[in-house]
Symmetry: D2
Subunit: 350 residues, 4 copies
């Protein structure tokens, strides 16, 4: 068992949180009795039905053990080895997965694009989608991957996603959405998940759940179901076809029941908003970028950063540029934890 | 939740079982509070200490989500892309992982060897280890992988492992053990895990747990610790570095506490022995091969197979050769379930 | 320059030969003047036209530097990473290319089949084509590759190729022909190249030339032209798109002019027949298998093998089984060289 | 045979040239007689001795069919699949090989760096070599690859190479030099090849020859000979071990005899200098960057570009930015061809 602290002080990532009672209970219901392995169980079927409801159409679903696996499998199904994946230069797939996309695609290339708030610039996508297309001397533009919410905590608007989707379609690019924080984006926009995904051109969605409440399970939601068979082979071959799949599925069933996934995301977003509100009132702190979901970037005086670290707070700082810090809230963040953090910032800033 | 039946009737694999209360409780203790992600938590550290105790030496440990991932990662660390993995022709890595080893190794070749009871023949290993070694026209013999217990339910004796280890060493082959049912083998032999592994030459062990009680976690035990850094990169890149690692680790902590892993294995083996004992008394049934652990092969009259299927029993039959059936017991198999199965066999055989 | 001997004594392979004057002359015509690179030159276009004539239909052509590259590229275009290539257990792709097919396919599996004279058994192909098809736990049967002429010097009859083609078609397998010695097979059968390939179901042909006269160039003949674009990317990426392609193409132009390719093959086959005829009359020598093309296997007394080696002859012996030797003739083998070899055999046998 | 024009008008690349009489003659000497295949011939051995002389130390050599293969094989030997190759953003390996490095390395990542004249900035290399080193979430900085001469026709000075070499060494990076135009760089600097390579820290050199005179052969020069065995397996597996290696080797023997390689390079450089000199005197033309070797960039008025194209000249223009054109000379460029080109520029500029 891990040592816990009375007041949670890890703001480095939402993956420091545990899970929800509902999810644990769902798992507990699976511990006895038998079930067919490898996803032939009832729970896995139920997850597929629930996600079909969420997305207002028939979808296929693969449950995997990490978001990296969800992303890399998706990209491999959308990009040939000689293809390129157009993505934001700050994207997780480009920077934080140790080349998982390159591994799973058998050596495709990630082409980094610019754009504010870690959102892909439509102009850059348009140019990159045409760049040396059909030229055997170059990797072939094949797919675009956008992160929703982005790595800086911004959320693409519906229109922004549609614009990128239209550019992708015109250029013949397949479209992937890295939705490690998809719930937060939906909660932030208040729109239908269908609008934000397949209706805007998304072929495959990494439907993240671990950061928002589950323990060991993420999902690929397959809108282009012609890819399902290939994905199934790829998943098995990647060591991602769990034998006791029901334990992943049970987490997802609970996560999708009574909108737990959205409630969790609303809460996480609200905690970031509370933090933002509080920091705004502290003149020594400079807020940076959009904090549409549960990630907040700000500029902190050196003494504040040092003070917080001395207090035992964990968060990324001085990683992007000197003086810049990042705080991430989660479904499990309590309002008073935000308040304690704000008090500490104030104390050190004074 | 999955439909359960009052009497478990799935004997097709030990992965149809759920988990143990101890393991669920350990997970439950993790659900609140925060922990550092990606294995920097206390539970993961504890698992490493416990496995070091089990193996009577310092080991490194990687927790992964499937046995296929444990095998494929291990083989990738032991075999260059131009190398070959010598394995039994009936081995799981050769037949049942959809090319996961080929994927992870970037295209190494599995060279199938023969031998009774799915155990690698020492003579064939000796010959294959020398075959075209150093010849650039051929893949280079690089590693040997043995399955303990084997796919037919046999268990290599300590001497048998040592002999293969000595041959491997002489030929300069690295050594992997696929221990999907390692606990069953240890329980069957009653020997020290250290003897069966690193002292006999094993460099990396896939320490299977899912088939014997955990839900979503298997492990690689690293004896050659010079491989640890490489394995860590490979695991991340394979989408096998779980962010909430503590939920895998908690399962393992419980699994390793008070010898739960061995108790579970002893029970599964005992259930197979009970079944064997019962079948022996039924003249229409012919026992096949060794049933050293929790897998039992037998020859069944067609009417018995059909009768059992009609009763709702699930098991593999007519897959290897006509008339041959396989039954697998687990930590969760109740004695009365074996007795019911035996009654059914008797009834249909009569 | 290599030391040459007045009488050629290398019978280990047809690749010990040099090239033909016609081919050198064609290259010489290219040495001055400029040409567009990467196959946009006139010679490359001419090769495509000539091969379209040879095969009585429009084909696409990729010129590559080795037969291994031709095979591996072809297999990669026909087999997904999770697929399997069904091939003879004695095939070159399975044994002699250091895993090139596994590399180029990103880890597909070669499934070795049996059959006499290194020809794939139709029954084994039928069974393997169905084996676990659609089962994600296993590699997916995807392609069949046959070697024409085979590694033992036999030639599939037209009917034999058609039978395998029909089985492949029924099973949904793509079909590759390793024609490292295709010319020899055509010369032996006296049939139309079209009959032996695309009309029998072959999608891609490795049209070997180096063993039969060219210096540094082999070709892939593309019958399924929907694969051409993919092959072009794969070839570039594999380092197989030569900048000065015209120097490969010039060799091929000459090779295809006035049936040089067939004349060379007829000669090589005739030399093997002459050797066979001569050996038949030596009671101490036992001929083995069919010698339909330019490879001949026989059983030699130990003293003969040793005597020939002492004379400076080079050939494979005791590699397949003790006492078995292989002799390979080529377009450049002179009748008197065969006669000298036969005299030597007789002398040592006496 | 390709249509030739009395005055060569292709300035798009040095690979439009043919070959030298000396090289053809060397090949001609190989056409009859036999030789052992796969590089076991005398010519291949001689090439190794000659390159050892050139580099003033024992080296190993692999002859391959393209520069892309030389680069990709080298990088694969220096970079693990989870590693990164630090290279200039304008480098050929990054832009013009369709992902060959990613393919051969099994998915390593190319990290593009900046710097003037397509030379890697020492500061950027220093930073990139440290970036997330040892962090499993990121690819591991593993190798640096510099192009000598660069893609813009500049040549790293000896000091510049040494500085990068020292940074690489300190960061634990392996060092590759893409010497597609290595001869041009040596000719330009007038320094010892040894100084420019292994003495400055280069482990593997792609010793380009095709652009400077050979027909179908490039080479890897191995300074770190502990890599030779691995490279041999990788080359075979990549379809790069030619059976009739002597025909590659013969080209190289001639290329290395009597300094043909340097004489060719001096000539190509002189032709570029002659062009530069001439253009300097045309006020409407703006010279760009260094033209240290045989590549020259300049700014041309639109009417000049159009006029030259109408005249039948081939060259890259408007590819990097509007109005920018590139001219490449070669060993085969005649002074009068430069003069004709200059006349044409003057005529169109007037």
């Amino acid at each position: 068992m891990n040592a816990t602290v009375s007041t949670a002080r890890i703001f480095s990532s939402d993956n420091a949180a545990g899970t929800c009672p509902e999810i644990l209970e769902a798992v507990a219901r699976e511990i006895s009795g038998q079930a067919l392995p490898y996803g032939a169980d009832d729970s896995t079927a139920a997850v597929r039905r629930r996600l079909s409801d969420v997305f207002e159409r028939e979808v296929d679903v693969l449950l995997v053990s990490t978001g990296s696996a969800a992303n890399a499998l998706s990209l491999a199904a959308l990009t040939p080895p000689w293809g390129s994946v157009l993505c934001h230069r700050d994207s997780h797939i480009n920077n934080d997965e140790c080349g998982a996309p390159e591994f799973y695609t058998a050596g495709a290339k990630l082409v980094p694009l610019g754009g504010d708030d870690a959102k892909i610039s439509p102009d850059e996508l348009r140019a990159a989608g045409r760049h040396k297309a059909g030229d055997v001397h170059s990797v072939e533009p094949s797919a675009v991957s956008l992160t929703q919410a982005t790595e800086t905590g911004a959320v693409y608007t519906l229109d922004e996603v549609r614009v990128l989707g239209a550019i992708a379609k015109e250029a013949g690019l397949r479209m992937h959405m890295d939705g490690a924080r998809f719930a937060g984006a939906v909660a932030s926009l208040g729109c239908a998940p269908a609008e934000l995904t397949w209706r805007a051109g998304v072929d495959l969605l990494s439907f993240g759940a671990t950061k928002n409440g589950t323990m060991t399970a993420d999902a690929i939601v397959v809108f282009d179901r012609s890819l399902t068979a290939e994905l199934a082979f790829r998943a098995k071959r990647a060591g991602q076809l769990a034998s006791k799949m029901r334990f992943h599925a049970a987490q997802f069933e609970a996560y999708l029941t009574d909108d737990l996934w959205l409630r969790n995301a609303h809460h996480a977003n609200a905690m970031a908003a509370r933090l933002q509100e509080g920091l705004k009132a502290i003149p020594e702190v400079g807020l940076l970028g959009a904090a549409d979901a549960n990630i907040l970037f700000c500029r902190l005086p050196q003494r504040v950063t040092e003070g917080l670290l001395a207090d035992g707070y964990a968060f990324y700082h001085d990683r992007w540029e000197p003086g810049v810090a990042r705080f991430v809230t989660s479904f499990a963040t309590a309002p008073k934890e935000i308040d304690h953090l704000l008090q500490a910032v104030r104390r050190h800033a004074a």
